[in-house]
Amino acid sequence: MSMVAEAPLKNAIPTDQELIDFVVREARLIDQQRFDEWLDLYADDAYYWMPLEWNQTDPRLTCSLMYEDKLLLSIRVERLKGARTFSQKPKSRCHHVLQTPQVDSRDPAANNYVTWTPMHYIETRMDEQTLFAAWATHHLGVENGRLKIKLKRVDLINCDAAFGNIQLFM
């Protein structure tokens, strides 16, 4: 599938535009179901967090919709490829509409950059199409000249609603 490959950072410290491009690219990789490339954007000790509670601060002793390390994320990616993954026969598809990510904080000394991205996410399977509204917060860092996700937090506007299956990644 054609799309610009990830460009290495021009300098040791990423520019705002590079942070923004990274967040946009991440969403595109999900939409295009390039999950192995997507997983590669995550640092080895990264977490993907989707709180269950409005303004949740604790992922450990408060339940979350997702709080997954890279092992669990890779299991999800493998599962999506499986021949007997019945809930993905036929497969789901998804679509992100992002606002331009805002760079909330940059801390080169701590190698930590935080962006905030309001978005709509649509997931479809068979005749069903479901719309979710959310804010994505990315905590990014530079590793070997590339940006990596340390934490991606997805806050759904209706995080505590009763959902049916949400099968892919927001």
Partner: protein, 437 residues
């Protein structure tokens, strides 16, 4: 067209020894009758009293589809009220939980009620003089659910006056609650961690049956648990097994594991899987916990409590608990083809936080709309809900390990892959459905 209303014989004919008619899952009329008869005749789970710790605290939920309210009264007892204003029907509380203060006040015309439901005050009281108001339904306030039982913190209620009393209804099955609660060194649980809500487009009974269906995990969950096992195999030797792998991998255990684990049958549709061992048996020890339990109970008793590995205990009609990880799932019927699943988690008071952490991980890995294991199950229920509309065959088969003399037996442990629990749930279904008809 009504086929079943007031027709106990027709309802009974839906349940045979080894099969049930699809109408128990797909007929809206049968569903309505469940709401009118089966749920009101049963002791139905309301909530845990730690959800309403202080006077005036309330929690709104349902018995079947009827809105009710659990509230801590001024005298410290927990009351269960129909959540309906006696004036014009307005639901009294808009939020699921909160504190009413000393009284409930209806948001429509400001009638107010004590926390036991009795009428406290009405604006323009004079307008009711000489109208015979004292004799009206309204004068008695918010109707209480008369039969309420708080069992070690777990609150159950029965709407109808008929039916069985609490002890008769549950019998020995309360031992699963006892075991879950005794896992706290002080014998106390607290709702903690938040509730996961998951909408299912299928009949509520498909979920209840599935709690004792031990022949599906290695098939339906090959996608999730099987992938976990495969991915984990590639980990470098010597890597410490992560908690997530400990939790998910046992779903892939072979048939033999489930056959040997056993199922226990009690009266009235209750029962549990995991008589000898279960998918919860091999979790790593949590440091400091056994020591605390030993101090509290003595070593022998502590071992006995923690040695119980009950997997799923079904309390008919619509909850399941998992003692070893302090989790309760509530299958709330909404329509014949729609069910809300709430998964509640509990903290063992005075036990290490790590236990709650594991419970919450289990909950989000297995029971969340964003889980993977849950996806496998829901896909099967929804396919069944659709497939049952086929006229090719109107019957659902529940025959595995059937024996003609099983009907009257209770408190027996049988082969863990038997469909006896499901047959047994349907015997209870018929009983409470037609009771008083």
């Amino acid at each position: 067209m009504t086929r079943y209303a007031g027709n106990a014989a027709a309802l009974r004919a839906l349940v045979r020894d080894q099969e049930v008619h699809r109408d128990v899952y797909v007929s809206e009329e049968v569903f309505q009758l469940e709401m009118e008869h089966m749920f009101p005749n049963s002791w139905v789970y309301v909530g845990h009293d730690s959800q309403v710790p202080n006077a005036g605290d309330y929690f709104g939920t349902t018995i079947g589809t009827q809105p009710i309210l659990m509230v801590r009264h001024t005298d410290g007892t927990v009351k269960v009220l129909h959540n309906r204003c006696p004036h014009k029907g307005t639901r009294i509380t808009s939020e699921t939980c909160g504190n009413a203060g000393k009284f409930f006040r209806c948001p429509y015309h400001a009638w107010s009620f004590r926390t036991d439901g009795s009428l406290l005050a009405i604006p323009l009281k004079k307008g009711y003089e000489n109208t015979g108001f004292e004799q009206s339904h309204a004068a008695s306030g918010m109707a209480p659910v008369r039969h309420v039982r708080n069992y070690r913190g777990f609150v159950f209620a029965k709407i109808n006056d008929g039916g069985l009393d609490f002890e008769e209804f549950f019998g020995d099955s309360l031992s699963s609650f006892d075991n879950m609660i005794d896992r706290s060194p002080v014998g106390q649980l607290k709702v903690a961690g938040g509730v996961l809500r998951y909408m299912h487009n299928c009949n509520w009974k498909m979920l209840v049956e599935n709690q004792t269906d031990t022949c599906h995990p290695m098939v339906a969950h090959e996608s999730s648990a099987g992938t976990v096992v495969e991915v984990w195999k590639k980990a470098p030797p010597g890597t410490k097994k992560p908690m997530a792998v400990e939790i998910i991998a046992p779903f892939m255990s072979p048939y033999e594991f489930f056959e040997n684990m056993g199922i226990r049958i009690w009266d009235n549709g209750h029962g549990h899987t995991g008589v000898h061992h279960s998918i919860h048996s091999d979790y790593s020890a949590v440091s400091g916990y056994f020591e605390k339990m030993t101090v509290a109970y003595g070593e022998e008793r502590a071992k006995a409590i923690l040695g119980e590995n009950r997997h799923n205990t079904v309390y008919f009609p619509n909850i399941m608990i998992k003692g070893p990880i302090q989790l309760l799932r509530h299958f709330k019927p909404i329509a014949a083809n729609k069910t809300l699943v709430e998964s509640w988690t509990f903290q063992l008071v005075d036990a290490p936080d790590m236990l709650l952490e594991r419970t919450l991980m289990y909950n989000r890995l297995i029971n969340a709309p964003t889980s993977i294991v849950g996806h496998d199950d829901l896909e099967m229920y929804e396919r069944a809900q659709e497939g049952l509309h086929s006229n090719g065959n109107e019957w659902v088969n529940l025959q595995r390990l059937y024996s003609p003399d099983e009907a009257g037996q209770t408190n027996v442990a049988v082969n863990g892959t038997s469909e006896w629990p499901m047959r047994h749930q349907f015997r209870a279904w018929t009983k409470f459905m037609t009771m008083g008809m």
